[in-house]
Symmetry: D2
Subunit: 251 residues, 4 copies
């Protein structure tokens, strides 16, 4: 039983069943992990029901975010053990005149709201999964982690062939990143429990779309097992990984 | 009553209602029209129920495609009257070894199938809306009309600030194009009756996602009225529009 | 007498004369100014002969930089008077492990050198032409201001059709930016006295190449006169320009 | 004695000598070969002195092109023996209204000239080095082989880490391609005898610039020896190489 089954029509199930989609693409040999926008702006500063959280944080995904974070910790743990490169993305604090917001200004009536909870930045990645010095944090203005950023060049430098993607929102920046990763011909995995959205239908149907055409939607366990099977330390000559990974507080 | 209402949960309606999304962005002053992938591969060679059509054409959207085509004709008619640039996209016939298919090979079990209905190319744009000599046809390998194509440069040359987007699939290439158009800061409209998908839930929820964050989903009538209000002949110095547009057989 | 004439062979002059190159392209109606990499790393912390300056600052262009700065001030002054958007680029301080340097590490034996003159950052834009709050500063890792940055989206948001480009180095980041600006179909000007390089032949021949094929190489006076003729305040709705521009200390 | 030495000033030699440039970057383990724009438009239809050839073909590089072709054959021969992917680029035949020429129209007084020598297309790759079915031919509108093309995705699909680049013009499309290849963090080689330009100073100084900062300028012999040392048949699963390469007529 897939999360999207309750949203598909009977006709949908017949059509996609006969059209050949949903094949398992598999993964390559040189993965990187990409954690998209797991910041206080998208999670809220603490676990709260989404309708409460969204009052303070207009982009909050509420409890779905906090459900995902322990799973993201497991992914990070496995990646750090293998010294697999970890990329985070987050947004950029806006100029006062909003120039750099571009089209975002037009589609949200609350886009000029400031932060109302002190001590937490809306673009600060949540501390439970804080980036470590060896990680690469990419600031972006638009949904896709590739759009207007140096991500492709970094991946080429490392010879990455596979992106394991998680974070938020399923129907926003994750979807945009998956389309671009697919379009550049990477193998793409979306790790289901580590990915979340403010909308239930959007979460489910975007997972469905991505799994049908662009990516393998996998469980955290599958992603961890895959990472464990890859060669260890492929990138030691390029990234200064710590002698012992900072995994102690995790899980 | 929106097409997506039947797919949203009650919580979804509350969350998006309070988060500030769905604002009307409006349009600019220099539009172009972008018709995505309305080829026999995505429509089938004739109007057939989708489950019949998909036997011959694995990407077919069936009757939804043929429902959209008369509306697309109206859009094209209005654009030709105003001498607004019209961009079409379509796919590229694959190499025998499939090299240029990239990631597509991995996610569809039928991706190596050849064409079985003679007289219709899977990448041929359907004749009812055939491109005219002044139109710009962009061949693409990936979902987005921007990915690996000269589209952005063309739009800059023309000073375009608004893209009216339609075609197929809502949850595939239209979605990808809308994300990129939004990311480049164009005003973006998705013309509802002119846009279609093989999946009912995917069609509805992708329209919902795009309308919430990236684009104004509008009716054909709204799009036509908008085009009529723009200045006529803005691009006559760059594109050799015909003295009288080829609209005779339309509608 | 052009700066490049002393470097061209007689045959070069005949060939380019007959091949149709060097046409004057002219400019459009909505310019932006782009000042590339005029930082202490490329200028040195003070005016010094290049062979002295390069001891401290491996990328220094020496006196050529300091010759250009008063001209750049004139350009900035004119742009601020017209409230024309001003973009600056500069580099990013490297990670200790050099990961983000990518290919730069490979081609320069001094690329891992730290800064030796305290009080001046190698990526700090020189104070004589310091960016103002309304300006847009783009950090980049690679030669072109477009590569891996949001520049194209910003230009689209503003409806820019013309880029006046200056800075350094003529044969490095200016050249790369000009190629990309041309490729996106902007009108491109390179302002000669405002553009500099560490190499004499590179400066001259890169100006020659750009003028032949991609850009109009113009004097500061021509660029200023052009800006004065454009409509004033085109971008007031998007950028919070100050009531009176910060031009007092200039010239 | 380098080709650029006669064009550099004494100061240039001192500055670049002390600034750390010109380091040998070396190559990686998975090369591809990229042959840029060696078409009749850039070579002329037969070996002629450039001032004669340019009368018929405004972009002709004359004898320099025909000097390079036997060396390019050697490169191709070595690549085919190793089953290394070969990418060619060439231009696109223009629309009658010139819309797709974009900025090119503005900078060349002869850009609207038609072809005057029958039997040879200006964008046809010269027959002595004609692409074979397994090769990938990329049509492009702008200088760089990466701009508005699917090249990066192809390279990612193949796991390429090194580009050996040759063709024409040194100070045009080769230079643009080298900047982009460097910017994406590929190892880059420019094969000297296989690269040519219509201008003597442009050829020399662009080689100098590229060798200083972005690429290793190497001889054909070095490039061939490097290719021979790479693993053979890395891409057999993705590209249908012929059982015996079509090298018979070569050399």
């Amino acid at each position: 039983m897939k999360v999207w089954d309750r949203f598909l029509t009977d006709r949908d199930k017949q059509v996609f069943g006969s059209a050949g989609y949903d094949a398992k693409a598999g993964f390559g040999q040189r993965p990187a992990l990409l954690v998209i926008d797991v910041s206080y702006g998208f999670c809220g500063h603490e676990r709260e029901p989404i309708l409460d959280s969204v009052k303070h944080w207009r982009n909050s995904c509420g409890e779905a975010a906090w459900d995902a974070i322990p799973y993201i910790q497991k992914l990070l743990h496995a990646a750090r053990e293998q010294r697999i490169p970890i990329f985070y993305t987050t947004g950029v604090d806006r100029r006062p005149d909003g120039f750099d917001a571009g089209g975002w200004r037009r589609k949200n009536t609350r886009s000029s709201e400031g932060e109302t909870i002190s001590g937490y930045g809306s673009n600060e990645i949540v501390r439970e999964i804080a980036p470590q010095p060896e990680d690469i944090v990419i600031e972006k203005l638009k949904p896709s982690p590739f759009h207007g950023t140096p991500l492709v060049g970094y991946l080429t430098d490392l010879g990455i062939d596979t992106l394991l993607i998680c974070g938020t929102t399923t129907g926003g920046c994750v979807r945009a990143g998956v389309i671009d990763a697919f379009s550049y011909n990477y193998y793409v995995g979306v790790v289901e429990e580590c990915t979340f959205d403010r909308g239930e239908a959007s979460h489910a149907i975007n997972l469905f779309d991505m799994n049908a055409k662009y990516a393998d939607v996998v469980s955290t366990e599958e992603a961890v097992n895959y990472m464990k099977q890859t060669a260890k330390g492929l990138h030691d000559s390029k990234i200064a990984f710590p002698a012992s990974p900072s995994n102690t507080a995790v899980l």
